[in-house]
């Protein structure tokens, strides 16, 4: 007689459970490194995010360390993270909102020319586009301490109102707090720890590098092969340079929807607004029609005319231009690139124009100004020698 196998209905289940348990523990053991790494990265990231948001190194919130820019510093391309640091600082009363064309103006330089009451911050950065420039201007509109805004009205205002600089951290300046976690990057973390260590002022370490960059750019541009190449491009693009774009003032959405409303608000508040037409060379219209627009000259002229007419009745708003002087815009020796002025005397003359109110473009003379530019560009001879003409630079 065999012993009844009472264990048989139970044993498989028990062994199944044991197997399941063992499989489970093997799985947990195998997955442990990945889970550990994921948890570690998540915890570290969230901890750093909490720290960054609490310290607020970019001064975007109401709380935090409220860091300041070191007196006399020019943040240049780093400025995109520092807009609020400057814009919310009540000690600044003058702001320059421009692009790479105006990045070389230092606060001391502006004070020297515009007067001792000027405490200026240069918020110029490379390649601004309508959306981000509007965000910057919005911040100045909201700042009651602003007495003067100097801004450049360049070709990027021809672009649509929805175009943004790809590298600009719009998430810092929009109303959506949920995307602010994206500010947690190495420079911001470094800045946060600097602040925690007691360094609550920003400073830009790239002054020497920037100067070297400008000098190299100038030397490269002035080299005979480069100048010959520019001259060849001018000749190649001469046909159709005066071509009409068919654009009207309604075509410029960034101007109508963003810039003009901001100018109206600043003007109504009594802030002085000085708008500069960038001093691009006449060669610029030939060379850059290649990649900006085939009707660049006409579009620029129409856009400038629209701006002049739109702000003509606004008190405290002035527009300045120097490019109708052939000794400035015709002579490539003044440039480090067809759209970037290099000659310090001309840079100075620009600031002097703002101070003295000279070289203004108004509703009354815009037609004449436009005609001068159109003619000068049309008849532009890149081989012309300008040494016989004296560049006029007013004294202080």
């Amino acid at each position: 007689m065999t012993k009844p196998d009472n264990a048989s209905p139970v044993a498989p289940s028990a062994s199944r459970n044991a197997r399941r348990q063992s499989l489970k523990s093997i799985r947990w053991k195998a997955a442990r490194p990945m889970l550990f790494a994921a948890v570690l990265i998540s915890v570290l990231y969230l901890a750093l995010a909490a720290l960054v948001i609490a310290v607020d190194p970019h001064n975007v919130y109401r709380w935090g360390a409220e860091p300041r820019i070191e007196a006399g510093d020019t943040p240049r391309d780093l400025v995109i993270d520092w807009i609020d640091v400057a814009a919310k600082d009540p000690s600044y009363n003058t702001f320059l909102v421009g692009s790479s064309i105006t990045a070389m103006y230092t606060p001391e330089y502006m004070r020297e020319i515009l007067g001792p009451d000027t405490n200026a911050a240069n918020l110029s950065y490379g390649g601004p586009r309508p959306i981000d420039r509007d965000l910057v201007l919005d911040r100045l509109v909201d700042n009651p301490a602003v007495k003067r805004v100097i801004l450049t009205y360049d070709w990027t205002y021809m672009e649509g109102a929805d175009v943004a600089n790809r590298g600009f951290p719009t998430f810092l300046y929009d109303d959506d707090i949920t995307n602010d976690l994206r500010m947690v990057n190495p420079p911001t973390i470094r800045r946060t720890f600097d602040i925690l260590r007691g360094k609550t002022t920003y400073s830009n370490p790239d002054d020497a590098g920037y100067d070297a960059y400008i000098e190299n750019m100038y030397a490269r541009f002035q080299s005979p092969p480069e100048l010959s190449r520019i001259k060849r491009m001018v000749e190649r693009n001469r046909t159709g340079i005066t071509q009409s774009s068919g654009k009207t003032c309604d075509s410029f959405t960034a101007l109508n929807e963003q810039l003009i409303p901001d100018l109206q608000k600043l003007s109504a508040r009594g802030a002085q607004v000085d708008i500069l037409f960038p001093i691009v060379s006449y060669a610029f219209y030939y060379v850059r029609r290649n990649d900006i627009s085939p009707t660049l000259l006409d579009e620029q002229m129409v856009a400038r005319r629209c701006l002049v007419n739109a702000v003509a009745d606004l008190p405290n708003v002035s527009i300045f231009a120097l490019d109708n002087d052939p000794t400035v815009a015709g002579d490539l020796a003044n440039y480090r690139e067809v759209g970037h002025i290099y000659n310090p005397a001309i840079l100075r003359r620009f600031m002097m124009a703002i101070k003295n109110g000279s070289d203004r473009v108004t509703r009354e003379n815009i037609a004449e100004y436009e005609e001068e530019i159109r003619t000068a560009v049309k008849d532009y001879d890149p081989n012309r020698d300008y040494t016989d003409l004296r560049l006029v630079v007013p004294d202080l």
Binding site: A31, M34, L46
Partner: protein, 522 residues
């Protein structure tokens, strides 16, 4: 929200995961699926409330129609009408809200349809519309999963529960915005399985690995190629002279950007779904390693290919073949009706699916003709004899060499801002503007291209890397190409965890300057 957003990765995802597994433990499957549905709606809210409302309306319409046609008799004539009405709703709303065909293709003179130009395209509308269209077709065809999925609807509570299940199926966030377009027959068996809801740490590890790889592809590679692409294509759009080398770099950079953008998204979608214990169909399987356009479409956006083939190509081809047979047409017209015309229509729809732009129309034409031509060549006696005698390696190289250039050119057209801009870019690529001004500094883009194309051609794709863990449902049976000795198997371990951490940290470094996924716009 987008997958690479830190808010999504470090806040939303952990909260949803913990809630999902906790609720599933205490309240069961239906409650867990409600968590997935609700969290998907929360995920979708940042895209706009209007989009959320449109999604929910689409869900209700399709769910109600699916219920009705499931429980109606086949003899009931209203069943077919109702089904067609449902599909009409899907495709008309897609055309109305996404394509804006009247106003975009033919200018703002489309009468009553002009107002549509003012509405932003709801994110993911084409994906969830195709998703639901396939579900309705399954319901109409009495696919066995539909009845099981809907369950017994004896009470309002059961009805709500079924709707939430359906909502989870259609709008589950890993696939809501950019796919893959999943069939119910792929989703339902998984949620019916006993393994569903069981927290499996391997699923988490596999999912995390996919997320790390996908994030690296998107943020580090695709987004770093993007500035070069933008410069070259916007210059081409205004008819600029471009140095031929830079024109080629721009076109190649777009190829790389599109590849890594979509591949990165697809990896992240698979990984996210896997963390919830779900496997989704593969959407992307080394398409640039394909040996021709036919092979390419079995590897690129595979779930879209199969949906279009199911709803469009197959019916058209069958109808064309029948017509030719009944009317005893000569071989050439019969062939045109059964292959060429269905193929051209198929690719035109694939092109236009991306948006109402003429560049997509031209892209669709290019791929349609190419696909039909390759089908003919591969079926020809000449090609079979030619390839039979030659070394397989030689044939492989030859096929890829022939495949590469048309693919590059068609993708360049796809990216161009206008057809004229596309053709202008071609002219610059093959032109002699060696005197043109340099549009960008070449060192960085060339380095990025080197990295991108080395990964594309030498490395295994993430599904191959993770094949030990059956990471996804195979949409098509594809061969693995590339050097076999590099086709390593991934296993969870400390070394792999360190690699993945490096990928994530590199991606986080770049994430603060990061634009959305390209396919989000389609």
């Amino acid at each position: 929200m987008i997958f690479t957003d830190p808010l999504f990765l470090f806040v939303f995802l952990p909260i949803v995961l913990i809630t999902f597994y906790t609720i599933s433990h205490f309240a069961g499957k239906n409650a867990a699926l409600i968590v997935l549905f609700v969290s998907s709606i929360i995920f979708y809210i940042p895209h706009s409330w209007f989009s959320v409302a449109l999604l929910i309306i689409a869900l209700i319409v399709n769910f109600v129609i699916a219920l009705a046609i499931t429980f109606m008799d086949d003899e009931d004539k209203r069943r077919k009408r109702l089904y067609l009405a449902g599909q009409a709703y899907n495709f008309l709303s897609l055309c109305y809200f996404k394509y804006k065909i009247v106003s975009l293709l033919f200018g703002p003179s489309g009468g009553v349809l002009v107002d549509i130009a003012g509405i932003a395209i709801p994110a993911g509308i084409s994906f969830y519309t195709f998703h639901q269209a396939a579900f309705l077709a399954d319901a109409y065809g009495r696919e066995k999963n539909v009845l099981q999925f809907l369950g017994k609807l004896s009470s309002p509570k059961a009805m709500v529960s079924a709707f939430c299940r359906y909502g989870a199926f259609v709008s589950f966030f890993p696939q809501l915005i950019i796919g893959p377009i999943t069939y119910l027959s792929e989703f339902n068996p998984q949620i019916q399985s006993k393994r569903f809801l069981r927290l499996n740490p391997i699923d988490l590890a596999v999912g995390l690995t996919f997320i790390a790889i996908g994030m690296f592809k998107k943020v580090v590679i695709a987004d770093n190629l993007a500035p070069t692409v933008d410069v070259v294509f916007s210059a081409a759009n205004v008819g600029a002279e471009i140095h031929p080398v830079q024109a080629w770099i721009g076109a190649l950079a777009y190829m790389g950007q599109l590849y890594f953008d979509f591949s990165g998204y697809s990896d992240m979608a698979l990984g996210l779904a896997r963390m919830f214990g779900l496997r989704y169909p593969i959407n992307f399987f080394s398409p640039f390693k394909a040996n021709g356009i036919i092979d390419y479409y079995r590897r690129w956006h595979m779930t879209l290919t199969r949906v279009i083939a199911r709803f469009l190509y197959t019916p058209l081809s069958v109808a064309g073949t029948r017509y030719a047979m009944f009317n005893r047409l000569a071989p050439i017209p019969a062939h045109l009706l059964s292959l060429w015309i269905p193929m051209l229509v198929n690719f035109q729809i694939i092109g236009i699916w991306h948006g109402a732009l003429w560049t997509f129309v031209v892209f669709g034409l290019m791929h349609g003709f190419w696909f039909a031509l390759e089908t003919e060549v591969r079926a020809s006696k000449w090609y079979r004899n030619f390839s039979k005698d030659k070394n397989r390696l030689f044939i492989g190289f030859l096929e890829r060499a022939v495949f590469f250039l048309p693919l590059l050119l068609s993708l360049a057209m796809f990216r161009s801002e206008s057809v004229a801009g596309g053709f202008h870019l071609f002219s610059q690529m093959f032109g002699t503007s060696f005197d043109a001004p340099s549009a960008f500094n070449m060192r960085y883009p060339v380095m990025m291209l080197g990295i991108a194309f080395s990964i594309i051609y030498l490395c295994p794709n993430s599904v191959e890397l993770m094949r030990r863990y059956r990471p996804a449902i195979m949409t098509y049976d594809n061969k693995s190409y590339g050097p076999a000795f590099l086709r390593r198997l991934w296993r969870p371990g400390w070394v792999q965890a360190a690699y993945m951490s490096v990928l994530v940290l590199a991606a986080l470094y770049y994430v603060s300057r990061q634009p959305p996924f390209l396919y989000q716009g389609f």
